[in-house]
């Protein structure tokens, strides 16, 4: 429940990506004030740019910490073998480094209480540059996760059931108990990547990749006997694999499922 809230499901949009606008904007503005303090002469500290740089940086740290919480909730939902998992780990580590640097930076600035100091000192200035450079990289990785790897896209449409934690390598047989109502799994059956879902008591197996831009159908949403791709909303019949709604134009592969004695057997044919 808390996780759903942190992931922005009630909002229909992730919380983390929304909150990060604040620290990114504020840290950059803080640096602009740093530069201004060096370029523009002001007779007094109170009328200068040293204090605004400090204020904006403090507010940036505050919102960075707030944004970290839903960010971590998003992180835990990324499939362990998804390419985005690595991107997310780097994104998180870099951001932790950025926040630590800014906290150190603030501590150094706070110790300087000279009312006539109108220019930001060298050490805090250099620290700002380093932190901002790291932030650019981590922000870029954040964008890569959304736009290249599709993290969080269409996630809110999935009302119930667990999405795959990792790809399970199998010969085509799984235990029925592994699949609760509304759950989906991602299987690697001798090299064929298969999505398996249990909807209204029926188990379906079909290719995991959408035929539009190859979005992960195992993370899609289920409506009756249809699966909807989380990325651009292409809809397929899970039984036949036929396209119900575009943008996809090509049918997906659907596989025969046999349930016997608590075992689910998925038959993958050679024909693609």
């Amino acid at each position: 429940m808390l996780k759903d809230f942190l992931q922005g499901k009630p909002l229909g949009h992730p919380l983390h990506t929304m909150l990060v606008h604040l620290p990114i904007g504020l840290f950059l503005l803080s640096f602009i004030f740093d530069v201004a303090s060096k370029l523009i002469y002001t007779p007094q500290r109170s009328a200068g740019f040293v204090m605004p740089a400090y204020y904006t940086m403090s507010m940036g740290v505050f919102f960075a910490l707030v944004a970290a919480v839903p960010g971590f909730a998003d992180y835990t939902s990324i499939r362990r073998d998804h390419p985005a998992r690595k991107t997310a780990t780097w994104h998180m580590l870099l951001n932790l480094g950025v926040v630590v640097l800014y906290i150190v930076n603030l501590a150094i600035r706070q110790r300087t209480h000279d009312p006539f100091e109108t220019e930001v000192g060298r050490t805090p200035f250099v620290l700002s540059i380093i932190a901002l450079a790291m932030l650019s990289v981590s922000g870029y990785l954040g964008g890569k996760m959304v736009y290249d790897e599709g993290v969080g896209v269409g996630r809110h449409r999935r009302k119930k059931g667990r999405t795959p934690r990792e790809t399970i390598v199998t010969d085509g047989t799984i235990s029925e108990g592994d699949l609760g109502e509304g759950d989906s799994l991602r299987l690697d059956i001798n090299g064929t990547i298969v999505a398996v879902a249990k909807v209204d008591g029926t188990i379906y197996a079909f290719q995991d990749f959408c035929t539009h831009r190859f979005g992960p159908l195992s993370e899609g949403s289920f409506e009756g006997t249809n699966v909807r791709c989380p990325w651009h909303g292409s809809c397929f019949d899970m039984h036949s694999g036929k396209v119900v709604e575009g943008p996809a134009k090509t049918d997906i592969r659907a596989f025969a499922v046999e349930v016997r004695d608590g075992q689910v057997r998925i038959r993958v044919t050679d024909e693609v």
């Binding site: 949009h13 990060v20 904007g25 109170s46 959304v146 736009y147 090299g191 651009h232 090509t250 049918d251």
Partner: protein, 173 residues
């Protein structure tokens, strides 16, 4: 022309340029509102006023720079799609946001950039601008996270390779 569009869409960057640029206005306008609120109730009112002034100024510059990149992205969406209409509303509201925030900045500039308390109307336009921004930014987010605008646009080939390796049926070109 197509080269110019590719530049605006962020092909050189490897991901859309518009959502990257909008972090500045979308982050700094709410920050300016917070600074205004803090300035009304606390110490260092002149420092906070200066923070608010420059938050709006830098946000406006970035917003103006972000507009053509957004337009280039919108151009690609087919006119029948829901995201097309969303984009149109998003853009129209953003024009209102720009007008309100510019007014707020102008009033502050007239009164003196770091005057301890900005004029009341500068505060009011800041509030209104932020309300409108919340709506348009939400719509922008919905375009990405609900409609998938820009998603896998540049990584399509990478995913195709992964899908092929996973023995998926691929679209007929």
């Amino acid at each position: 022309m197509s080269l110019f569009k590719a530049l605006l869409q962020g092909k050189w960057l490897g991901h859309p340029l518009h959502p990257a640029l909008v972090h500045l206005p979308t982050g700094l306008f709410p920050a300016a509102l917070l600074f205004d609120v803090i300035g009304r109730s606390g110490d260092d009112a002149d420092v906070v006023a200066r923070c608010a002034f420059w938050a709006i100024a830098v946000g406006l510059i970035a917003a103006v720079a972000a507009a053509p990149t957004g337009l280039a992205d919108w151009w690609e969406i087919k006119s029948g799609k829901p995201a097309h209409r969303l984009g149109l509303i998003h853009a129209s509201i953003n024009v209102v946001v720009l007008a309100l925030m510019s007014t707020s900045l102008y009033m502050r500039w007239r009164a003196g950039e770091s005057k301890a308390s900005p004029p009341t109307m500068a505060f009011v336009t800041n509030i209104l601008g932020n309300v409108m921004l919340a709506i348009s930014a939400y719509l922008g987010g919905r375009m990405v996270f609900d409609r998938g605008v820009g998603v896998a646009r540049l990584s399509k080939k990478t995913w195709e390779k992964i899908a092929r390796a996973g023995r998926a049926r691929l679209p007929v070109e």
